[in-house]
Amino acid sequence: MRSFLESIQVAPPRRDELEVSLFGPGIGECIVVHMGENQWIIIDSCIDSMTKTPAALHYLDQLGVNAADNVKLFVISHWHSDHIRGASEIARTCAAATICFSEALLKEEFFALIDCYAGLKNPVLVDRNRSGVCEIASIIKTIKGRCEKGVVSFQPFNLASADKRLYLNNQFSIKREIWSLSPSPSAVVNSLTEIRRLIPTPSDNEIRKVIPIPTKNDNAIVLFIKYGELVNILLGSDLEETTDPLTGWSVIVDSLNRPQSKSMLFKIPHHGSKNAHNHMVWDRMIESEPTAILTTKIGGISSIPKESDIKRLRKYTSNLFSTLDPRTKLPKRERTVEKTIKGVLKKRIPLGGTIGQIQIRIDLNSSLRIGLKAPATKL
């Protein structure tokens, strides 16, 4: 049963209620999941432009949840800047959380890259746009600190890879699991190749550039959540389809080691873009007429999802929701400056507007309640 509410609920979920809240400010996204019994999971991070704090922490604070004790898992699905703003603050605050990331981020090539741009041991020149490297550097230092202190009550970090269970809780006879379905071994290798390419080449005449935004998303972590017997959720992160059958969505669909149940709730990957679409995912991993949620990405050649993407997605479900931010008004500056801007710029799009939230609460009978906080909307 599905019911659609006008607005989100500000009271915390019931003890046995699963919640998935998706936040999207137009650039970046974050997911907060309640796994029951006041145990929370955070996936990625984005900043709430009003409070200037990580959206996840702000939301948990509003619900009266103590993030330091009750967040048990923090998954960094990939290290691009739009998915990781504020992540270091989450890592520091959530002192009882296992921080989970792709295996590729634990290799020496990645640490060397991070050290060049953000300094893991010694301070270095740090650029304004760091594509998440500073956040990652801070997280690495936080984890290392916890390892060195000898934390024993939980594992400070864990590596996500294909078909691996990251979380299991059997309290009150309700089985709750979180599985990572990616990255595949081939995707890790490809990712390391790209990381090696990003390490700067020393040169006398080369000027310093900011770290280029990685071109591929095949190292992203896809998560499958199983709650009780009836509730299954697929969180698609930013994973794009590739032509390589050993990477992307194809290898996930064909895997026999993953949980085979179909999901009733699907977080659509990569903002609904065509690059991340695989029909077999809808056919073999998702129930018919599921609830599908996505975030909008403003920027690039054009914002996504495009009209054609929305049209394509509506063929699979009529319950499609987006944290869409209607075009934010450009801030006004002094008249002389505005005149000059008009004369110089061909196009202007503000990045990062008001944060929209889609809140979905599901009980053990798979009854679903959907709340939206503007500018989130039904597509």
């Binding site: 020496e108 640490f111 594992q155 700067p200 040169s203 080369e206 000027i207 550039k209 900011v210 061909k346």
Partner: protein, 173 residues
């Protein structure tokens, strides 16, 4: 009056004290509180890394109205895209903008590559003999890149961290 040429002479030692802007005070006895404003003896006066007052002023006057720092994210035939951060109004969000390549000075065009940083300013320039001009100027950042030593150091740090996490008892992959 000291002039720039007169201040330094050949063979001047490294420890020569530069000129100071205020006359020295006499040391007060039993000065204990290091937090208070210090009065120091001539011999204790610190060297100052300041520009001496005899330097001739630079010509012209600039009134800055707006400053952005941008980084190039896409380049096409006649234009490029950049994300600009407002350094004057730090609360404003970043913007994705499209700029015509003609806005860039010819000397800076070779620097137009993915990831390069530029400064864009709007303001008024008052220059002797030229009156007041409203100007918009883009200037690409020319910051030296990494040296061989720095990259080697980063690789060493990479190895060290990878080894630490690999050998951590709880690490499961």
């Amino acid at each position: 009056m000291n002039t720039a040429a007169g201040l330094s002479t050949a063979g001047e030692s490294f420890d020569e004290k530069p000129e100071y802007l205020i006359p020295p005070q006499i040391l007060v006895e039993n000065q204990k509180d290091s937090e208070s404003i210090q009065t120091l003896a001539i011999g204790d006066l610190p060297k100052l890394a300041v520009a001496p007052p005899y330097l001739s002023p630079l010509k012209g006057k600039f009134k800055l109205l707006q400053l952005w720092e941008g980084r190039v994210v896409d380049i096409r035939n006649q234009e490029f895209d950049a994300i600009i951060t407002d350094k004057t109004n730090t609360d404003f969000p970043d913007e994705l903008v499209t700029i015509d390549k003609n806005e860039i000075a010819p000397d800076d065009l070779p620097l137009l590559r993915l990831g390069t940083v530029f400064y864009w300013s709007v303001g008024y320039l008052d220059y002797p003999g030229r009156g007041r001009v409203r100007e918009s100027k883009m200037r690409f950042r020319r910051l030296k890149g990494w040296t061989q030593k720095e990259v080697e150091q980063a690789r060493r740090v990479g190895k060290e961290f990878a080894k630490f996490f690999r050998e951590y008892p709880g690490c499961s992959s």
